[in-house]
Symmetry: C2
Subunit: 484 residues, 2 copies
C-alpha cells in the first residue's frame, strides 16, 4: 500500500501498462514525511510491486519523467531506480523504458480454471438457448443507435422503471404477440427474470403476504426467491391440465407463481377451464399471480395460447426476459404490473439497483421496433423445431419405452421412462459427460419413474443421434434390470 | 384479449408496425371454436384493438396474406375486414395496406409528463457527473469490441462474479490508481454502488451480524439498505479527521460503512491516525468495513490518498462504480472482497440477478485496458476543477460569510453559513427552481447552521455566477435577519 501525505506531495504520476498506454499511479512524496524523498519513492514502488498494484512487465516512467512529475531532482530518481533494480524490483536497460521485473511482481492468483469442471460432451440442460446464433450484427446496430441517441437525462439518474422507449416497445410487442394488455406505464424493466420474481416476492412480503404457492414440480429458483423474501412456500400439484386450482385454494396462499404457457418442467399447458378457475380464485382470495411466460415464443405445433395476464390484468403479473430468445448475457427482462403493485415493485427495483442499464434498454427498444426480435425468432423456431423433431424421432427409435410428455414447445423435451434409478443414471451421465436435468432437480428427493428434461438449445441437429446414443448407453443398466 | 383454441388453429400471423416492419400477432382461429371463422377473426381483431394490443396506425396483413396465414378462404378475410372497417376499427384504402384506424385504437395512457416537475434552472445536486461529456464514441468502440469478441460461454449463463477480462482490468486499475490490493479472483462486478452495499448488508446479516455503523451525517441510502437487510443502524459522528473511531467502538457494531477518501457529505478526509485506529478496531472486533471510494478519482489540490482497503484487505470491502466517472446509466460497479466474504457476497449476487450484463462488462474491460477511463478522467478533472474554483471564488465574493469545508475534491462544495433557516431556504429555492442538498438530507431533522452541498457536475463554469446570484437571493431573508 503506497501512502504518503504532507504539504509537498504532488499529483499522481503517469506510468505505462503492457500495451504502452499512459497510466496513472498513486505515488505521492512529501518533504514533510519521514525519510528522504528517494527513500519514499523506493518504498512506495517496492510496496506497490510487492502487493500487486504494479504487475510484472508494467512500464514505469523514465527517471526524467518521474523527477518532473514528482518535483524532485533527476539524481534522486536515478538513485532510487538503481536501488530498486539492484533489489530485483525493476529492470533497467539502455534505450528501453524501465519496467517492473518479471521476478519481483507477485503472481496473480491462479484463476479458476481449476474450479471449472471439464465441459460436457453433450449439453442438454433444458433452459439454455443456442447463443451461437446470437444476432451480433443486429444487436450492435441497435447499440450504436442507443449510444448515439441516449439523452443526458437517461445517461444520468434516469427513470428506475425503465426508459420510456423500451416500455412502449415492450407494451406493443407483448400485446401483439402474447395478448398482454398494458400500456407502457405498467411495464417495469428488470435485469432478467430472476430479479423480477425477487422484486415481486419482496413487494408481496412488504404488503403483508405470508405464503406463496408454487407449482410442484417447478424450478427451485422460485422456491429460493420466495424463501429469501421471508415468505412460506406451498407446493401445488400439476397434472395434465396444469396446476390443480382446488389444491391451490387449500394452501391459503396469498399469491401463486406459475408457468401457464408451458409448465416448467412437465411441459403441460394450463387448460382453459383451469385458467378460468384460477382467475376466479385470484378474485375471491384477493390474491396475485406471477406468470412466468417462460418459453411461450417457442411453440411449434400451433399458435401459442395467449398470456393469462390478458384475462386478469389487475391480478396477474406478467414476467418475461430475453434470456431464452436472445442471450442470458444481456440480463434484460420485464414485469407487467397491476396498478396496485406498480409502486411497491418499482420501489423494490430502486432499492435493488436503481434501474437497469439504460443503453442496453434503448438497444432492446430499437431491436424490437425494427422487427429484429421477430426475425430472430422466426429463424430460431425453424432451427429448434428441427432439433426437437430429430430428438423425438431418435428417442422413439432408440428408446421405444420413452414417453414424450407435454406440448411441442420450448427448448426441451420431457421424457418419462417406465423405470427408476436416478442415482445410477446420474453417476453414469457424469462419467460420460452428458448433462441434462431430471425430475429430482425440480422435486427434491423424487425417486419415481425416471423423468428426464432433455434440452436442445445447445444440441445441434447433427449431434442428436450421438447424444441419444450416449443417453441410451447410460440407461442400459436400468433398461436391462427392467427386462429381466 | 385474443384467445382461441382448437385443433384447426394456425400459427400467429404477420402484421406490419408503423415502420413497415413485419410483425407477428396472436390471432389463431379454429373450426372447433364457437362462431364462424369470419366472426372469430372479427372478434379477435376487435378485441386486440380495443384492449390496446394493436395500436393506431398499425398495419394488418392484406386480406390475401391473412387468408393464407390462417388457412381460410380469401372471401372470409375480405368480409371480416369490411365489417371491421364499417365499425371503424380498420381503415381500408385502395392500393394501401389496411391499418388500424386512428379513432378506434385505445389511447395510450398519458405518460408521466405530468408526474415530472419542471426541470430546475440550476441543478446543483452534489452527486451527478457531467454526463454531457460522456465519451460516446470511445464507449461505442468498446461495445463493438465486446459484441465482436464475447464468447458463447459468456453469452450464456456465464460467471455471476463477472467476466474475467473485467475483473482483471479492474484489479489492475484499482491497484494502480487507488492502491487497492487484490487479484481478479477478489473482484465482484455489480450493477452499481447501491447494489454493492445491498449485497454486502445481506451477506453480513446472513452471517449473523446485527448492527452496522454509518457515518453521521451520511448518505441516507446506506441507512435504508442496511435496514432492508434487517440490520440495526448506528450513526457515528464525523469530525474534521473523519469518523470518530472511539464512538464507533462504543456502538457495538459488527461492521461500518464509510467514505474515507472524501466524507460524504462533509468533504473531510479520514486522517492517517484514524485509519490506523479504525484498522485496529476492525481486527479487535473481528468486524468488516465497506469503503465507498465515492469520488476519489476527483482530487484537485494534490494526490488522492490511497484506499483504506490497501491497509487491511481482509477486513475492508472496497466499493466503487462508474456512475461518477462515466455515467449512472451504465449501472456498472464493483466490490473488492476479503476472502471470507467472497462466497457469501457472490451468493447474494446470484440471488439478486445472476450477474451483471456481460457485453457491458466486456466493454468496460476494453475501455479500461485502452486507457480510455484515464483519458476521460484527465479531461474531466480539468473541467471540474475550473468549475470548483469558479464556484468557490463566486461564493467568496457574493457570500463572504460562507465557509468552505473539506478538501478540494469530488463533485460538490460543502458550504457552512453562520445562520439557520432550512425551511425558509428550501421554500425559496423551490420557488426559484434551484436544486441542491443541505445537511438535512444527510441528517434528518437537522436545524443548525445552514450547511449546503453545492454540486458542479451539472453546472457549467459559465453558469456559476448566475447560480450563485440566485442562491444569494434565496438566502437574502436569512442574511437580512442576521444582520439585524
Amino acid at each position: 500500500m503506497v501512502r504518503f501525505t504532507g504539504a509537498e506531495s504532488r499529483s499522481t504520476f503517469s506510468a505505462l501498462d503492457e500495451t504502452s498506454q499512459p497510466v496513472e499511479l498513486l505515488l505521492p512524496v512529501s518533504r514533510d514525511a519521514p525519510g528522504t524523498l528517494g527513500a519514499q519513492i523506493e518504498d512506495g514502488l517496492r510496496r506497490a510491486i510487492r502487493e500487486g498494484a504494479l504487475r510484472s512487465g508494467a512500464q514505469v516512467p523514465s527517471t526524467r519523467d518521474l523527477a518532473r512529475q514528482l518535483g524532485v531532482s533527476r539524481r534522486i530518481a536515478v538513485d532510487a531506480y538503481s536501488q530498486l533494480a539492484a533489489e530485483g524490483y525493476l529492470t533497467l536497460r539502455q534505450g528501453a523504458r524501465p519496467r517492473v521485473s518479471e521476478a519481483a511482481a507477485v503472481a496473480v492468483p491462479a484463476e479458476r480454471a481449476a474450479r471449472a469442471p471439464a465441459p460436457p460432451r453433450f449439453d442438454m440442460r433444458p433452459s439454455t438457448p443456442d447463443v451461437s446464433a446470437f444476432p451480433r450484427a443486429a444487436w450492435l446496430r441497435s447499440l450504436r443507435e442507443a449510444v448515439g441517441t441516449i439523452t443526458d437525462a437517461d445517461l444520468g439518474l434516469g427513470d428506475p422503471q425503465g426508459v420510456l422507449e423500451l416500455r412502449t416497445a415492450l407494451a406493443g410487442y407483448l400485446g401483439r404477440v402474447r395478448g398482454v394488455v398494458a400500456g407502457p406505464d405498467r411495464v417495469l424493466v428488470t435485469s432478467g427474470y430472476r430479479q423480477g420474481i425477487g422484486l415481486f416476492c419482496h413487494a408481496l412480503a412488504a404488503r403483508g403476504a405470508r405464503r406463496v404457492a408454487v407449482e410442484d414440480p417447478s424450478n427451485r429458483e422460485q422456491y429460493d426467491m420466495a424463501t429469501r423474501a421471508g415468505l412460506d412456500v406451498a407446493g401445488v400439484p400439476v397434472d395434465d391440465a396444469g396446476i390443480d386450482v382446488d389444491a391451490l385454494a387449500r394452501t391459503g396462499a396469498d399469491a401463486v407463481m406459475l408457468t401457464p404457457a408451458h409448465q416448467h418442467p412437465t411441459g403441460v399447458l394450463l387448460s382453459a377451464e383451469r385458467r378460468a378457475a384460477l382467475c376466479a380464485w385470484l378474485r375471491e382470495r384477493d390474491a396475485f399471480a406471477i406468470e412466468d411466460d417462460y418459453d411461450a415464443e417457442y411453440r411449434y405445433d400451433r399458435a401459442a395460447v395467449g398470456a393469462l395476464q390478458g384475462l386478469e390484468p389487475e391480478r396477474v403479473v406478467y414476467a418475461g426476459s430475453v434470456s431464452k430468445t436472445l442471450a442470458p448475457a444481456l440480463r434484460l427482462g420485464w414485469l407487467v404490473l397491476p396498478a396496485t403493485l406498480l409502486e411497491p415493485v418499482v420501489a423494490e427495483k430502486v432499492a435493488a439497483d436503481r434501474g437497469t442499464a439504460r443503453i442496453d434498454q434503448l438497444a432492446l427498444a430499437d431491436f424490437l421496433v425494427r422487427g429484429e426480435l421477430d426475425r430472430h425468432l422466426r429463424r430460431m423456431r425453424v432451427r429448434y423445431r428441427a432439433r426437437r423433431d430429430a430428438l423425438v424421432a431418435a428417442l422413439a427409435d432408440a428408446l421405444p419405452e420413452a414417453e414424450v410428455l407435454g406440448i411441442a414447445a420450448g427448448l426441451h423435451v420431457t421424457v418419462r421412462l417406465p423405470y427408476g434409478g436416478e442415482d445410477a443414471l446420474r453417476e453414469e451421465a457424469a462419467r460420460r459427460r452428458i448433462v441434462f436435468e431430471t425430475m429430482r432437480d425440480f422435486r427434491p428427493g423424487y425417486n419415481g419413474p425416471l423423468t428426464l428434461m432433455l434440452g436442445y438449445g445447445q444440441l445441434s441437429e447433427a449431434a442428436v443421434p450421438a447424444a441419444v446414443g450416449e443417453l441410451v448407453e447410460a440407461l442400459s443398466p436400468l433398461r436391462g434390470s427392467r427386462r429381466r
